[in-house]
């Protein structure tokens, strides 16, 4: 990583799911307090904060509950990269000397059902709404449909990815979907957007996650086991990518923002995909995890068919993916997802992941989020 090391000294999350009684802000306060307790510091020790949600309010208002210490608190609103962008900002705050203890927090609370976008907000004609094309699940279905055609991936592989998510979710106390489901049940759960069935998708939900980052000097004064953040990168799409709500896409080979962001994260960290012992990949649905394995450099296109069937991506496999059940088992509070992934890697690298602990003391972890309208955030972590 260019510049001085930044250490993660505290990590906290709430359970994810539907919380009719709690606001998104209340969940955020709970996650921040959990991260502070994990780091063993009071709120007054935090010198700067960055955070946000997509649809649950402004992060800087949390000071009313956390304490009016006068610290600078910057709101981040960057869609699926909200957590990642808050993290990058926190890293830069430490590197620049703005503060030596910095908070990153992400939270959200969404209504039941699929997201409900308006065509005019995306620069599209109203006909895309009236004719029924403003549905996110269509994009996910069409992207993996083409990928399966080009690279020989079968529906059974999509079902096995979801089966693993629910299996890992059952081992994760904070996950939302904690009931194991078989590949057969997942395949028979009803087609939503061919080739993806109902149980292959994550659902919008509520939850929060927070991290306490420290300079090496500040970390030395604390008792816990810090994890080194080797790199944190956010990228937006280049020309030629395939994104949701596109009236057209360019011909030729597709570009990938996830490919760009993951390559930059590995380069900054001075490590490669082969060094990673445990990783978290955006799994909005099963197909996303399959494609992101290749886009983030963990395998060649098409190799997933063999990898997934062999159990390589399960806990105990050669490359455990989404050990906490990912988005499929945790749901997706947009602002919180990216920091939940980092929380999980911190637990794994410290050996504190309980029943879902990856064996043999994993040393290097990786996280990847992806979302509309073509944004990706990646981190590389080590102990």
């Amino acid at each position: 990583m260019t510049g001085a090391d930044v250490l993660i000294c505290g990590a906290g999350r709430t359970p994810f799911g539907r919380w009719p009684e709690a606001t998104g802000r209340q969940l955020a306060v709970a996650a921040v307090n959990a991260a502070l307790a994990d780091a063993g510091i009071p709120w007054s020790r935090v010198g700067a904060a960055f955070g946000g949600s997509d649809s649950a309010g402004l992060a800087d208002t949390l000071v009313a509950q956390l304490g009016l210490t006068g610290l600078p608190f910057v709101n981040v609103k960057n869609g699926c990269a909200t957590g990642g962008s808050a993290l990058v900002s926190a890293v830069n705050a430490i590197r620049s000397g703005m503060a030596d203890v910095v908070l990153a927090v992400g939270f959200d609370k969404h209504p039941r059902g699929a997201f409900d976008p308006r065509p005019e907000d995306w620069g599209l004609g109203t006909e895309y709404g009236t004719d029924g094309l403003m549905v996110t699940t269509q994009f996910f279905g069409m992207k993996i449909q083409r990928y399966m055609h080009d690279h020989g991936i079968t529906p059974r592989t999509l079902a096995l990815v979801a089966e693993k998510a629910y299996r890992n979710g059952a081992l994760t106390p904070e996950a939302w979907r904690r009931k194991p489901l078989s590949a057969a049940e997942i395949l028979e759960s009803g087609m939503v957007s061919d080739p993806l069935t109902r149980y292959m998708f994550c659902s919008p939900g509520a939850g929060a996650a927070a991290l306490v980052l420290c300079s090496p000097e500040a970390a030395r004064a604390l008792d816990g086991r810090p994890v080194t953040l080797r790199s944190a990168v956010v990228r937006t799409r280049r020309f030629g990518s395939f994104e949701v709500f596109s009236p057209w896409i360019p011909g030729g080979e597709l570009t990938s923002v996830s490919r760009d962001a993951s390559a930059a994260a590995f380069e900054e960290a001075g490590l490669g995909p082969g060094d990673v012992d445990v990783c978290q990949l955006q799994d909005t649905e099963s197909g996303a995890e399959v494609m992101h394995l290749a886009e983030c450099g963990f395998c060649a296109d098409g190799e997933q068919e063999r990898l997934v069937a062999s159990g390589a991506t399960g806990i105990g496999g050669t490359l455990p993916v989404n050990t906490d059940g990912g988005c499929i088992a945790n749901g997706e509070p947009i602002g919180a997802s990216g920091l939940r992934q980092v929380y999980e890697i911190v637990r794994q690298l410290r050996g504190q992941a309980g029943e879902r602990q990856v064996p043999d003391e994993p040393r290097v972890g990786f996280t990847h989020v992806y979302g509309a309208p073509g944004v990706s955030a990646c981190t590389v972590l080590s102990r």
Binding site: D131, L133, V135, M142, F239, P247, W248, E253
Partner: protein, 148 residues
């Protein structure tokens, strides 16, 4: 440093000879798009700038036929509003991207004869595309059209 697969060196403007300038007496009735004056980029719907280089783009009529690049089926009724179901109520419908030239793939609703037709969609199948009052619509090309 990566090589852009759409670099001008790789595919010159002559790479898409089927695109016709607007208006032209020989133009096939089709979608109104635009083509960059500088790069091999064709966009839909028409825009006056190129999203790749920011340079000016000129109107073109896109080809009226192509092949299915990918597809899915909308199995449940989208939320209303904004969705307006047909007079008989919602029925599952297919949609996809139709590759109209080397440069452009356009999203379209796929009009197949009945529910049975949803089971016969395949990547690469020939389709005819028409501009409508709504989004582009595509339907399987008939054998007679393929011969002509």
């Amino acid at each position: 440093m990566t090589t852009d697969p759409r670099s001008r060196a790789a595919t010159g403007p002559e790479a898409a000879p089927e695109l016709q300038a607007t208006p032209g007496p020989q133009a096939t009735p089709g979608l109104q798009g635009a083509r960059c004056a500088g790069c091999p980029v064709t966009v839909y719907p028409a825009d006056d700038t190129c999203p790749r280089c920011g340079g000016p783009a000129d109107p073109v009529v896109l080809p009226g036929a192509g092949t299915l690049w990918t597809w899915t089926v909308q199995r449940y009724a989208p939320k209303s509003p904004p969705y307006q179901p047909p007079p008989g109520g919602f029925v599952p419908f297919a949609l996809g991207y139709v590759e109209l030239s080397e440069d452009v793939r356009v999203a379209a609703v796929l009009d197949v004869d009945d529910l049975d037709g949803l089971d016969h969609l395949r990547i690469g199948m020939p389709l005819s595309v028409t501009a409508g009052p709504g989004v582009p619509r595509a339907r399987p090309t008939t054998p007679a059209e393929e011969r002509s």
